[in-house]
Assembly symmetry: C2
Homo-oligomer: 197 residues x 2
Amino acid sequence: MSPSSLDELIESLRCLPGVGPKSAQRMAYHLLQRDQHGAARLGRALIHALEVLRHCERCNSFTEERVCPRCANPRRDATLLCVVEMPADLAMIEQTHSYSGLYYVLMGRLSPLDGVGPRELRLDKLLARATEEGVREVILATNFTNEGEATAHTVASLLAARGVKVSRLSRGVPVGGELEHTDIGTIAQALVERRAV
Amino acid sequence: MSPSSLDELIESLRCLPGVGPKSAQRMAYHLLQRDQHGAARLGRALIHALEVLRHCERCNSFTEERVCPRCANPRRDATLLCVVEMPADLAMIEQTHSYSGLYYVLMGRLSPLDGVGPRELRLDKLLARATEEGVREVILATNFTNEGEATAHTVASLLAARGVKVSRLSRGVPVGGELEHTDIGTIAQALVERRAV
């Protein structure tokens, strides 16, 4: 009995990750009743983003140009290529202000259970980029989750086979971290990978 | 450094209730990377819904017409008017198939802390509807939360002052409920409101 445009809106909201039927309903009512301005803005932003955003030919991240401003920046160190899972990871590394090389964004991770293998992740594109002339080292900065680790391992093997120098972010106790509140696995890893001082 | 259309999309997603900066980012990447079809559909659904949906002149729920099909249905019992907070509540009552009267949807509840008083909730509109000729009884079906109860109490006083017969959904142990797993407050209420058999 509810109007079809409302049903369609509720159903459409379910494409958002983690949004089930109840949340979708709540969101629809909220938008229509309390935030029509926000709803209109979201509608326009979605349609505009789909229209103008594409993947950078160099780093595979989202951009509005053929090559994103970061990859086109001659002041970045083109001998270093840092591989991350998502643009959010890239943003975190940028925020450290301690890396001036370039990036390659996988836009995901190997996840066999979800049907994401080397082909779906387009690892061929990464390999082509990483074996370009001028790349001296590839830094793997995928997450330290099971899937991130598996991804790093696979990429490392593929690159090593092509004679590319590969490194991985170090693991250990977080800066400012107390051992008492650090998980056992991390402490074990920090012991194995201890550094001479 | 991220493209403005992506930033705008992420910012726009934050108009959804319960969506913070991290979720908005995750949603944007998901839509752009994994569900462009869903994103386009959502964009269109938002814009279309805003364009065609309005409040029914009779029940205040969302509709695409001046008066919604339910209110216009001559087979519904126009002597009964059931007051609910949201369209989702109306849908629940309809699913019981044990009510054939009409509805009035408040589109919210009194919530002084959020600045929603009788004026913001447009109780004048409800009063005008409830005092129309032909309405024999108003059934208050707001939630049994603090705010829902306060709303029912206020509406009941206003209607009683105008000589309208008012009732409230009964409270008690849920059908199929076991006392052992029912909260104390509900049991206490069920004792106070016990019915002669």
